[in-house]
């Protein structure tokens, strides 16, 4: 919503509320004032009427009292019952006196005198004379004191009357002589009451007597006196009053009620306790509040005009305020699109807040323009820098990649032997991470020492400032290394550190060594050739020896291949044989279990069973050759293991005149083997050695470390073997013994093979044989 609309709407709403409230209060106040003035008028009206009535009654009382105390009247009343001229004279005098009183007070309808028996003894109206009124309240009520007879209708002329009476007493004896009474036409009172002042056109003042009847005429109804009963709210209220005194109080505020004719009036009352009358003044409420109707129209007009004007005013003010803001908004939108060169079309150049805002805005635009230009320059600069940084890091990466690609260990040191940079090769050869390397001094990393070693090329560089080279065997790294150290110089040519290149030359060294040895061999060969040129036999022998060695290796290869296929054959055969064997053995066993076999037959079957078991044990031995299983592997001290077998065999060997000699290398690493299987191997080897020496001799068992294997040698001084025997040595069922099964060495071969070891023989006929067992130190068999 626009600000202008909001402001004018706000103005309209506020003025509507304020005007509405003000109008309402004004109206209510006017109404209250008007009502109060009407009420005051009504109260005054009833109060003054009541006062008049009371005064009139007082006047009546005093006039009756005068008569009652009149000597002429008293005299007449004393003798009124007698006969005679004196009495007649007194009668005439009394009549005159009464007539005089009547003439003096024309509002009174009749004066009358009654004797103490209730007979009218004198009257201003001759018609009343000698009537008996002894039962009339007029007479009865006044025997002792002043009495007012309430409104009643005259029996003769049907006129409404009220009467006052007073006892007539003997002035000397206070004896009741009669009653003096005065009758008054109510019409006399009407003149006082019904003057229509202060009650408007449709209002009236009327009196309700103690019985609740209206005793005054009505302007709305005819002939209501003593006939119209009035029991409206105002009468009920007035009845609550039980005060004394001539005039009772008016209700403090007048009340709105429905009057006896059924329309709404504002009424006020006044009680007259003496008569127990209620004077009521009522004014028609429509008539009473008629002036308000005009006021009503005026207020409605105000209620319309004021908000309309304030709405217009609000609209105008809003435009005054919002217009410059709108201009600024449009400008801001243009500038927001980046058009800083856009000049403000309408200048808001007032001296108020908006003007200040406008000027600040213009200044901001100028600043923003400047800033944007600077920002663009900055962005360009940043892009340049980022590019430069990218190039730099690419170059750095290139350099690092190259640095790391070099296979030689390269480290860069400072002047205090600290390594400040190292390549990947250094990391892998030193077995340290880059961060670990960078924490160490160079001599710690390379040499495992706490100070530079002798012949340290780095020290030389620091001393001479020139390149230095050294080739050493570094036990810490277990390598031959070539160290090149090159100084790093600062601008003044001062050595600030060095580049340290280490090349692993172990292989080269070994090759050199081999070359060296080969050279040595060659030299020796030449020596032999030159010195023993004539001795062709020896040369041939050498050659033949080499050739035979070569053949031997070849035959070993052939043999191992042959043994492997033999192993497979054995396994297949065992399968094929064991199934029918199972059938045979099973049936034999079932037959035996049956229990019905007896005698010879049982014996035959038992033989079948036991022979099956024998066949089975042969096959099991065979299987040891093809796949001996792993058994229970544990770490075994090979020397102790062999020692325990020797203990077992020593005695029987002694009987065969064979001596066992041991050359154990102490402290050999343990081997992971199944000791039971291994002992079977050595048992076999030793037994074979003994069998090769029927005339006795010695067996030498030696153990040693051969690279990463334990080597066990069993050398006998027996008959030896020829080539043919050697090549078939491990074949199952191959034997040179009369009683041999031909499985012993096959099983040995299988066992050693299963331990990832090696079993081989060297032998020469007549010179004895040597068995070699190699077992790996680590790794599972």
């Amino acid at each position: 919503m626009k600000i202008a609309n909001r402001i004018s709407g706000l103005f309209l709403a506020i003025s509507l509320v304020i005007t509405g409230i003000a109008t309402f209060f004004l109206y209510e106040t006017s109404k209250a004032i008007l009502r109060r003035s009407i009420e005051r008028g009504l109260s005054t009206a009833v109060a003054s009427r009541a006062m008049h009535i009371v005064t009139y009654l007082n006047m009546l009382e005093s006039s009756v009292a005068q008569l009652s105390k009149n000597a002429v009247i008293e005299n007449y009343m004393k003798i009124s019952g007698e006969e005679g001229p004196e009495r007649d004279r007194a009668f005439v005098l009394a009549m005159e006196r009464i007539k005089m009183a009547k003439d003096a007070n024309p509002s009174i309808a009749e004066y009358l005198l009654m004797d103490n028996t209730g007979i009218v003894a004198a009257s201003s109206r001759p018609e009343s004379l000698w009537q008996n009124v002894s039962t009339d309240a007029l007479f009865l009520g006044a025997k002792k004191k002043f009495y007012i007879k309430d409104v009643y209708r005259s029996k003769t002329d049907k006129e409404l009357l009220i009467a006052v009476s007073m006892p007539l007493l003997d002035s000397k004896t206070d004896q009741l002589l009669g009653v003096v009474s005065a009758k008054v036409r109510l019409a006399e009172l009407y003149n006082i009451v019904t003057q229509k002042t202060g009650v408007g056109e449709r209002g009236e003042i009327y009196i309700i007597n103690k019985y609740g009847y209206m005793i005054t005429p009505s302007i709305y109804k005819k002939d209501v006196a003593l006939r119209q009963m009035v029991d409206t709210d105002i009468v009920k209220r007035a009845r609550l009053y039980k005060g004394e005194g001539p005039i009772g109080p008016t209700s403090e505020t007048a009340m709105i009620l429905i009057n006896y004719c059924g329309f709404e009036v504002l009424g006020s009352y006044q009680c007259i306790p003496l008569l127990r009358w209620i004077i009521i003044a009522e004014i028609d409420i429509k008539e009473a509040f008629k002036p308000l109707a005009n006021l009503h129209k005026i207020f409605l007009l105000i209620l319309i005009i004021v908000p309309v004007f304030s709405g217009i005013l609000g609209r105008y003010l809003a435009r005054v305020i919002a217009r410059p803001i709108e201009i600024l908004t449009k400008e801001a939108e243009v500038i927001g699109r980046g058009d800083f060169d856009h000049l403000m079309t309408v200048k808001v150049d007032t001296k108020d807040e908006v003007g200040r805002l406008s000027r600040a805005f213009q200044k901001m635009v100028m600043d923003l323009k400047d800033t944007t230009v600077s920002r663009d320059l900055l962005m360009k600069e940043m892009v340049n820098r980022v590019n430069a940084q990218k190039e730099a890091s690419a170059a750095r990466r290139d350099w690092e990649d190259s640095f790391n690609a070099i296979g030689d260990m390269i480290t860069i040191h400072d002047a205090d032997f600290n390594i400040i940079r190292a390549n990947k090769a250094a990391e892998s050869v030193l077995g340290l991470t880059i961060s670990e390397i960078l924490k160490q001094k160079c001599f710690k990393s390379y040499h495992g020492k706490d100070s530079p070693p002798d012949a340290c090329p780095s020290c030389k560089v620091f001393k001479t400032g020139k390149n230095a080279v050294a080739e050493i065997f570094e036990p810490h790294l277990n390598r031959f290394i070539e160290i090149k150290a090159m100084p790093r110089l600062d601008a003044d040519g001062k050595v600030i550190g060095l580049v340290h290149i280490v090349r692993d030359i172990t292989d080269r060294k070994k090759a050199e060594e081999k070359l060296h040895n080969a050279l040595k061999d060659e030299i020796r060969a030449r020596e032999i050739m030159t010195s023993m040129l004539d001795d062709n036999n020896q040369i041939r022998q050498e050659l033949e020896k080499k050739l035979s060695e070569l053949k031997q290796v070849q035959s070993m290869l052939v043999q191992s291949e042959k043994l492997a296929s033999l192993g497979r054959l054995v396994s297949d055969m065992a399968h094929e044989v064991n199934n029918p064997l199972m059938v045979i053995s099973g049936n034999a066993q079932l037959s035996l279990l049956d229990g019905s076999l007896k005698g010879e037959l049982k014996n035959y079957i038992e033989i079948i069973h036991s022979e099956c078991n024998r066949a089975k044990s042969i096959i099991e031995r065979l299987l040891m050759f093809s796949r001996p299983g792993k058994g229970e592997q544990k770490l075994v001290d090979i020397n102790a293991s062999i020692e325990s077998i020797i203990k077992l065999l020593d005695h029987s060997f002694g009987l065969s005149n064979v001596k066992i000699i041991t050359h154990f290398t102490p402290g050999l690493p343990f081997v992971l083997v199944d000791d039971k299987h291994l002992q079977e191997v050595f048992m076999n080897l030793l037994n074979n050695a003994r069998d090769a020496m029927p005339k006795g001799g010695k067996v030498v068992i030696s153990t040693s470390l051969d690279e990463k294997r334990v080597k066990i040698e069993v050398r006998d001084s027996g008959v030896g073997m020829d080539e043919a025997t050697l090549s078939r040595l491990f074949e199952p069922f191959f034997t040179t013994k009369e009683k041999g099964t031909g499985l012993g060495l096959s099983v040995c071969y299988g066992i050693i093979k299963a331990h990832n070891g090696e079993l081989k023989f060297t032998s020469q006929p007549g010179k004895g044989s040597t068995a070699y067992v190699f077992l790996p130190i680590t790794g599972r068999g």
């Binding site: 396994s571 064991n578 199972m582 099973g586 279990l593 089975k616 099991e620 299987l623 796949r627």
Partner: protein
């Protein structure tokens, strides 16, 4: 009654086993060949122990045991075989279920077999 699954490609051997085991008071489920054994394993038939040959022409005994492990069947296994094949994949099932002691070589002594069975079924 404990039920024993006997697996062998040689029907006569199955017959012998059935006869012997029945005599010894066991229930026997026959399976001539690896295929038949697989069917028994797939069924809901309760098995308390399996005696299985290792080398069979259709499915090897080791594959039958692998299937048993895969089906999460907990009963123990005894191998009854002519020979342990060199290079067989026994290692794969070794740690799970089978040790070298559970491999019996044919021809087996039936009393030894009975001892092993009772051992496995934990009956005396």
């Amino acid at each position: 009654m404990k039920k024993i699954l006997v697996v062998d490609d040689e029907e006569m051997i199955v017959n012998i086993m059935e006869k012997f085991l029945t005599m010894s008071g066991f229930g026997v489920v026959r399976a001539v060949g690896g295929e038949a054994a697989m069917k028994v394993l797939d069924s809901d038939e309760r098995i308390d122990l399996m005696i299985v040959d290792m080398r069979m022409p259709d499915i090897s005994g080791i594959d039958v045991v692998k299937k048993k492990i895969e089906l999460k069947k907990k009963f123990p296994v005894l191998f009854l075989t002519g020979a342990v094949d060199a290079g067989s994949s026994l290692d794969e099932i070794e740690k799970e279920d089978i040790t070298e002691n559970d491999i019996l070589l044919k021809p087996v002594d039936l009393s030894v077999l009975l001892g092993k069975i009772k051992d496995k079924l934990k009956i005396s």
